[in-house]
């Protein structure tokens, strides 16, 4: 619903209250961060006292062990200090006044053309223009800021992006934008900026930053790349398939559908049916690399159709020749009963 001024002021107050709740949580988190810094320091103090004793009593082996413990405690401090510094810096800016948040809401209206508030669900919404990335039309989107979730913003579930005219990826209905899946935006480079803007009540900046992400394509890390948005076309027959329904031919470097591809029976490499051949003897599917050659006739066939390097036909010929040779040898050798002239 669109609001009148009085309602905007009430909404601004509600948002400020959410931010205040989050600020209280931040103060609570600060205690454990301070503890994480003080704990290793406590250890170091104990080690110092123990070293005093070791020096007094000449316990040098024990002193050596204590120095190792001191090293380990020291390693934890820089990270703990860094986290504490960051948390303290986040608490630096004061909470925005109601009038500042009201000004933010008015600015959203100017930047986006309209701003809506769902009182029942406590959701603030702005709308993008239709978005087209690399000639792929994605439609327009509603950016929802779930105000009830602001105070628990660690879970990042305070933002949703709803496709109003969905043109999802062919392989996955839930991906309506390369960086939106199941209505959740993966903000990537904008994540820290969005959180900082929200923590500091710069609500308009949150919406503008989300819009910037929606209007930019990161080809290195999409849920589905725009190249494959409309599916993957089989190189052989042109059928449009999803990624799971396609196979890569390692011989010709193209992508094929299930019907146009198969596996080599021996090495199990996936190939297109053009690059695969079949054994001329048993007709099993086989790739060129797995074909072997008969030593005698030099015919190529699968290894199952060869024995001792010979095909069945050459083996038979060889056996016949061997038998003939054996008979000939027997005839040439004279028997012991014959007299020599």
């Amino acid at each position: 619903m669109e609001l009148i001024d009085k309602q905007w002021l009430k909404l601004a107050d509600s948002i400020r209250h959410q931010l205040q709740t989050y600020r209280i949580q931040q103060y609570s988190d600060l205690r454990s961060l301070i503890y994480n810094v003080s704990l290793p320091q406590g250890h170091l103090e104990m080690i110092r006292q123990a070293l005093d004793k070791c020096s007094y009593k000449n316990w040098w082996a024990a002193a050596k062990k204590l120095t190792l413990k001191a090293k380990k405690s020291l390693q934890d401090i820089p990270s703990a200090v860094s986290k504490l510094e960051y948390a303290l810096a986040a608490l630096d800016p004061p909470l925005p006044a109601n009038r500042d948040i009201y000004a933010e809401l008015k600015q959203i209206q100017e930047e986006f053309g309209r701003l809506e508030y769902d009182q029942d669900e406590n959701i603030l919404s702005a709308y993008t223009d239709p978005i087209e990335l690399e000639d792929i039309y994605l439609g327009d989107f509603q950016i929802q800021l779930h105000l009830s979730h602001i105070s628990a913003m660690k879970n990042n579930n305070f933002l949703k992006v709803i496709a109003l005219d969905p043109h999802p990826a062919a392989c996955n209905d839930a991906v309506t934008h390369p960086h939106v899946s199941d209505e959740y935006l993966c903000a990537g480079d904008a994540t820290a900026s969005i959180q900082n803007a929200l923590i500091n009540g710069r609500i308009c900046d949150v919406f503008i930053l989300v819009r910037s992400v929606l209007e930019t394509y990161n080809s290195l890390s999409p849920y589905v790349s725009l190249n494959e948005w409309d599916g993957i076309s089989c190189y052989e027959c042109g059928y449009i398939a999803t990624e799971e329904e396609t196979f890569y031919c390692e011989s010709c470097d193209h992508i094929f559908c299930l019907e146009c591809s198969s596996l080599c029976h021996f090495c199990e490499t996936s190939m297109c049916i053009s690059c695969l051949t079949s054994c001329p003897v048993c007709e099993i599917s086989i790739c060129e690399s797995c074909l072997q050659t008969c030593k005698e006739c030099e015919e190529t066939m699968c290894e199952s159709c060869l024995e001792d390097g010979l095909c069945a036909s050459c083996r038979e010929d060889k056996e016949t020749d061997d038998e003939k040779e054996t008979k000939e040898i027997k005839c040439e050798i004279p028997s012991s009963n014959q007299q020599v002239a």
Binding site: A103, L185, G188, A192, C204, D205, L209
Partner: protein, 74 residues
């Protein structure tokens, strides 16, 4: 003079910075983001778009937000 500068490029921090008198918004941008192009950013002063020759005033609120930000997949 002091102005409030909100840099939504990077960590998104806000801070008071000192600028020389008669500094235009265009000049300010070039000083803060010397390797960037104004066309890739949304620049607002006191929540309003301003011409490049706008001269900054004491306590102005300047926001610079990239219009191209790369998302990712989780």
């Amino acid at each position: 003079m002091q102005i409030l500068y909100i840099n939504n490029f990077g960590g998104g921090f806000a801070d008071y910075v000192t600028v020389a008198a008669n500094t235009t918004i265009e000049k300010f941008f070039q000083l803060q983001l010397p390797n960037e192009n104004t066309g890739d950013f949304l620049i607002r002063v006191n929540r309003q778009p301003v011409p490049r020759e706008y001269v900054l005033q004491e306590n102005d609120r300047v926001t610079i937000t990239p219009t191209k930000l790369e998302g990712a997949k989780i």
